[in-house]
Every structure is written in structure tokens, then in C-alpha cells.
Symmetry: C2
């Protein structure tokens, strides 16, 4: 595998991992766009949102619930936060391993990029 | 209920509804920030992301899968798109009925607002 996120998952590239279970890991973005900027990813290598199948429904829901839990733990749930998922070129996807951005700790603006 | 999205769901306020099932509806944002800008919402009134419970996992996953399906139908899945969920003030949430933004048809920028 030449995927940077698979290498983070495997411990081959260092990252500040804040959550880990059998299905999902979360770690800090190395180029943060907010005081707290985390990435929540499935352990399984799925390239894009558009590659999801119906059997992934529960896993996708869990990505969001794990993000909510991290927002609480990081202390910015009450003030609020933004979740973003980018699909392919127009979405601005840079790493082709599905990931959810969790951004908190500042006022997010509109439009969202 | 004084919720504008509940009124859209009930047909009391007009909207361009593009998807409807027992659990979810999707309609066009009246203040679009991209050539295609849709909102995907649970029929049930849930105020914010932070109010989700574990039993909502499947519904949340389905919001994303419905967004993917709409992206295909609208013809911008291959070029790509962005999904955004805003929670409370710092997230920029304006309507306190949980919703997922689907934005496609143009290059999305970074940071995401």
C-alpha cells in the first residue's frame, strides 16, 4: 500500500492518534485549519465517498458519532464545530482514503470553501 | 413546530424536493453556494449533531449514502463534491434541524470556511 493514511494506521508514519477501535481511527491533521482539526477515517482503505456501498452505512454513521465524541472530549462541542467530507477533485480531496474532517475551536465561515 | 425544515417536510413551505423516503428528505438550498447545493435531512426533528445517539448511527450513514446517490443523479459525482455538517454557533449552523449540505458543480476551496 502506498496510502499515507494506511501507513498512519499501521504505525509506519507518526501521527497524534486520539481515537482507535477495530473499524475507525482519528488523528490530528498536520496542516490544521482550526485550533482543533482532526481526521476520522475507516481503517479499511476506501478511496472516495462515491465508492461507498450500502453495507458501509453503519460505518459511515459511526465516523460521525466518533467525531461527536471527540468534539466533546476536546471541549468544543458546546460552542460548535464543522464536519467536512471531500470527494474527488471538485471536493478538494487530497488523500484518496476516505476521511472526515472535524474542525472546532473557532468561528467557521460561509460558504464552506 | 416552528421549524422551517419540519414545515418543508410537511409541505407547508414550498421547496424543490429531490428525494423522499420514510426517514430522509432532500431539497435545494434556497441560498446556494455552488451550482448544485442540496440539503439532506432526517424527517425526525433532531436539533444538532451533538444531540445524536448511538441508535441514530444507521440514519446518519444513510444521509451520506442519499447524498452520494443525489450526486450521481445530478451528474457531478465523477468530478467530485463536498459534504458539510455544521454544529451550533461555531459551526455556522443556521437552522436547528440537523442537515447535511451537498455542494457540487464547481471547484471547492480550502479551508472549508
Amino acid at each position: 500500500m502506498d496510502c499515507i493514511f494506511c501507513k498512519i494506521k499501521a504505525g509506519e508514519i507518526p501521527a497524534q492518534i486520539v481515537y482507535r477501535d477495530d473499524e475507525i481511527i482519528a488523528f490530528r491533521d498536520i496542516n490544521p485549519k482550526a485550533p482543533s482539526h482532526l481526521l476520522v477515517i475507516p481503517n479499511r482503505h476506501i478511496e472516495t465517498l462515491a465508492d461507498l456501498k450500502e453495507e458501509d452505512t453503519n460505518m459511515i454513521g459511526r465516523l460521525v458519532l466518533v467525531a461527536n465524541q471527540i468534539a466533546s472530549e476536546e471541549g468544543f462541542s458546546e460552542n460548535g464545530y464543522r464536519l467536512v467530507m471531500n470527494c474527488r477533485e471538485h471536493g478538494g480531496q487530497e488523500v484518496y482514503h476516505l476521511h472526515l474532517h472535524l474542525l472546532g475551536g473557532r468561528q467557521m465561515m460561509w460558504p464552506p470553501g
